[in-house]
């Protein structure tokens, strides 16, 4: 009789173990294992010192970037989606006075592959494209060796960061910014940091 009872209790053991497991899985769901997003959000913009796209002798750094809320936009002329978002970004600059700084990411520059970017050619391409589609940028930082992009944890282009006046990253968006994205995701944060 008692043997039967204990085997009955044993039958509940898998259920109990599974219940405990579920608790951990639920907790695990809400703590990002990569901590990638949280590592960026509410952290200061990484330090950098990089030349202007048009003028190599002009150096931009974190101090020249901050002071006013800014959207840091990683892009390149090679990137189709970037082309698509340029007109809307330009509209943001012209109509709402949003300060947008470009981080120019050149995909062809791959020293390990024996390929080096031709900065003069990039400048021509950039001028052509911005001339056609609109220029949303106050200035462009040339991140040829991708040090800034790497520190920002870029995984593709376009990606944008909302940085507040004190230099803290408040929002990270992967993909293009369009009217819907701006309205639903970015505008609330932008309005908050602009006040």
């Amino acid at each position: 009789m008692s043997a039967n009872k204990s085997s009955k209790r044993l039958a509940f053991l898998p259920l109990a173990i599974f219940a405990v497991l579920c608790v951990f899985l639920l907790k695990g769901l809400f703590s990002n294992p990569n901590e990638r997003e949280s590592a960026l959000i509410n952290k200061p913009v990484p330090e950098f010192s990089l030349p202007d796209l048009y003028n190599e002798s002009q150096i931009h750094n974190k101090q020249t970037l901050i002071g006013k809320p800014v959207i840091l936009n990683v892009w390149g002329t090679w990137c189709t989606t970037c082309k698509y978002e340029l007109p809307y970004l330009t509209k943001l600059r012209n109509e709402y006075g949003v300060k947008i700084v470009g981080v120019y990411y050149d995909q062809n520059h791959a020293p390990a592959f024996g390929e080096f970017a031709d900065v003069k050619e990039i400048r021509v391409d950039v001028r052509n494209m911005l001339g056609q589609l609109g220029n949303p940028y106050e200035y462009n930082i040339l991140d040829l060796d991708r040090t800034l992009s790497l520190n920002l944890g870029i995984s593709g282009a376009p990606e944008s960061f909302v940085v507040d006046a004190s230099g803290v990253i408040r929002f990270h968006h992967m993909g293009d910014i369009n009217e819907r994205i701006w309205r639903d995701k970015i505008a609330p944060i932008w309005n908050e940091v602009s006040q």
């Binding site: 039967n4 085997s7 009955k8 039958a11 509940f12 898998p14 259920l15 599974f18 219940a19 497991l21 579920c22 951990f24 899985l25 639920l26 907790k27 695990g28 769901l29 809400f30 703590s31 990002n32 294992p33 990569n34 090679w78 189709t80 989606t81 698509y84 995909q107 791959a110 390990a112 592959f113 024996g114 593709g156 282009a157 293009d176 369009n178 009217e179 819907r180």
Partner: protein, 648 residues
């Protein structure tokens, strides 16, 4: 238009699954045969509409419809057509739809093959599948719809499929693995149906066996191909990384292997019945858990998938309902199961019991190793990682008794056997195995390494015993009378022998070397000369890059011409190493191209991997064994119908 049709079909399929989960239940309660007989028809509807929906998704991918979010994010107009097809299940949403196609497809197969089952049992099995389907279809429709549009702002081109997935492995590996995962739901449904009916005699084990064997064979093949793919595509040269995603597929396999053997005992000897039911529940539960781990992003893995907690919560709720519900049912009902078959301490039953204990121990090790880092972190002890050394060591310990018993077990009789019969033969076979493997390794490699010799000895042990057992059976029954299922068992066991020997040899004798070569140079490894002839440009439709042309000589004999590539995929801005491999029965020659160094030389990694093919050869043999059982006479129609009828 087509995506909307697909979406609509998915909703209809969901409606079918709802009906399938309700009407048969009412039919069973009210003993209304008409309602019960709706189940097969509903299942056919479920399958048809799901298949149609998937066809619509494939169509959207093949026609580059970038207004569909899923297509825009996972395909590109330049992607080769076979990968456009594969991309349709490369994303989270698409892979879930594939899962549903298979889930309903297995249910459809049950409809076709279960006409001989008693109507109540058939209805119950299909109803349980219906319950599972309701959850999954609700999930895909609400949280993971593959037909979501990008309108009105659709992109001109897609973001391309991850280059890692652009391989023939991607076309075959996920469907096979899913066939295995989902197939285990059929064993699960049979077990739950048996629990619900309270009729846990040996017949349900008989019905469940071919389904379990089929699912298990698919799972075996899926895992084998996954391992081969990782080896050939990832460029790391390994074949098993104990990555959480690999573990997620390995756990259901271990449990399904145990289930397959335990079902045999339940069917033939009417023993282990409660345990077998538990394994059937555990097998599918681990499939679901594995999917959750992979797709929710709870655990970090090289198989990076997008993370989205809201989806994770949905899957976790599903998991809690399916696994929690079935385990509760098990806890409440299993007490009533009586195993009547008696057996003594030395018998086939105890051998298979030991098989189950070892396989379950292995499952627990993998489960702990996979989940402990998560638990550790969540209780605030910080991040830890449990890596390959832990698993390798544990599995080495487990493999030795497992292989030793595997050799002997088929010789031992059911019910009772004499231990002293088993003293001389194992001693002789053991000595022969050790001697043969030592001579083999000494002659081939010049030195005998312990773990390699262990693997070779165990492999030979299993092979010799399997051959002896076959001889015994053949002489008893006559060669023509040996049942197909017996060949299946032999094939499965020899496959395991190949895997064990291959793992031991390749892990001990593989040599790798990082060399720095200018075109025209050569390097030596294990008697092979790797001659770096030239570097070439390569251009594919959606990539470009470099290829190193390398000839491998053994003495003056040209063994292989290899082209190791480094590809650059502009859309995803990804660099991929395409290793070049010359495969052979006893060795693989492997070259992977590294970076161009500042002095115009190239970093190149070369390997010689003895017997690495045996791992996959073994896996394929095991899977073939599984498929072979399906053709055994016992499982083909008429005879089963009579037996089943007689039992009811």
């Amino acid at each position: 238009m087509i995506p909307e049709l697909g979406n609509f079909a998915l909703f209809i399929a969901f409606a079918f699954s709802l009906l399938l989960s309700i009407f048969p239940l009412i039919g069973l309660r009210t003993n209304n045969l008409k309602l019960m007989q709706l189940a097969p028809n509903l299942t056919v509807g479920l399958f048809s509409f799901t298949l149609f929906s998937f066809a619509c998704l494939v169509y959207s991918f093949l026609t580059d419809d970038f207004t569909v979010l899923n297509v825009a994010e996972n395909s590109n107009s330049l992607l080769p057509i076979q990968y456009k097809f594969a991309a349709s299940f490369g994303s989270h949403e698409g892979s879930f739809l594939l899962w549903l196609v298979m889930q309903s497809g297995w249910a459809f197969a049950v409809v076709l093959k279960s006409k001989s089952l008693p109507p109540e049992m058939r209805t119950r099995v299909l109803m349980v599948i219906g319950w599972i389907c309701v959850g999954f279809y609700a999930y895909i429709i609400t949280a993971s719809n593959p037909f979501d549009r990008t309108l009105p702002y659709f992109p001109v081109d897609g973001r391309d499929l991850n280059p890692l997935l652009q391989d023939v492995g991607m076309i075959i590996h996920p469907p096979l693995l899913y066939m295995g995962y989902v197939g285990l739901s059929i064993s699960f449904a049979f077990a739950i149906a048996a629990l619900l009916s309270g009729k846990l005699d040996s017949t349900w084990a008989k019905w469940s066996r071919p389904w379990t064997a089929a699912a298990w064979a698919f799972l075996t093949l899926g895992i084998t191909i996954g391992s081969w793919w990782a080896y050939s595509e990832l460029g790391w040269g390994g074949w098993w990384f104990w990555d959480p995603v690999e573990n997620a597929s390995f756990m259901p396999w271990l449990v399904a292997t145990a289930l397959l053997h335990s079902l045999a005992v339940s069917e033939k000897r009417n023993a282990f019945k409660s345990w077998t039911v538990f394994l059937a529940i555990a097998g599918f539960s681990l499939s679901l858990l594995g999917t959750f781990l992979v797709r929710s992003g709870v655990i970090v893995s090289v198989h990076a998938f997008a993370t989205d907690p809201s989806r994770g919560v949905f899957i976790l709720i599903l998991l809690a309902l399916v696994i929690g519900g079935s385990l509760t049912l098990y806890a409440l009902r299993s007490g009533a199961i009586k195993s009547v078959g008696k057996f003594s301490t030395f018998s086939r039953e105890t051998m298979l019991w030991a098989n189950n204990v070892l396989l379950v121990a292995a499952t627990i090790i993998v489960l702990l190793g996979t989940l402990l880092p998560l638990v550790h972190k969540e209780i605030g002890l910080g991040s830890i990682s449990i890596g390959a050394p832990f698993f390798n060591q544990m599995f080495t310990y487990l493999t030795v008794p497992f292989a030793l018993l595997l050799g002997i077990a088929p010789f031992v009789r059911w019910k009772q056997d004499k231990l002293n019969k088993f003293l001389t033969m194992p001693a002789v076979v053991g000595v022969i195995s050790i001697l043969l493997s030592v001579v083999w390794l000494k002659l081939e490699f010049g030195e005998v390494k312990f773990y390699a010799a262990l693997g070779a000895t165990l492999g030979l042990w299993v092979t010799l015993f399997t051959a002896l057992e076959y001889r015994k059976t053949a002489s008893k029954l006559g060669v023509s009378k040996v049942p197909l299922s017996h060949y299946a068992m032999a094939l499965g066991h020899i496959g395991i022998a190949f895997v064990i020997a291959g793992a031991g040899l390749t892990s001990q004798y593989t040599q790798e070397k990082d060399v720095k070569l200018w075109p025209g140079d050569s390097a030596e490894l294990m008697g092979y000369t790797y001659q770096f002839n030239a570097i070439k440009d390569v251009n594919g439709s959606n990539y470009n890059g470099w290829a190193a042309d390398i000839s491998v000589y053994k003495g003056n004999y040209l063994e292989a011409e290899l082209l190791a590539e480094k590809r650059y995929y502009p859309v995803q801005r990804n660099t991929m190493t395409e290793a070049a491999i010359d495969d052979g029965f006893t060795r693989d020659l492997y070259v992977s191209l590294g970076e161009l160094l500042p002095d115009d030389s190239w970093a190149i990694r070369i390997y010689v991997k003895p017997y690495v093919r045996w791992l996959w050869l073994g896996g394929i043999l095991v899977a073939l064994g599984g498929f072979l059982t399906l053709f055994d006479r016992r499982y083909r129609g008429v005879k089963l119908a009579k037996q089943a009828g007689a039992n009811v």
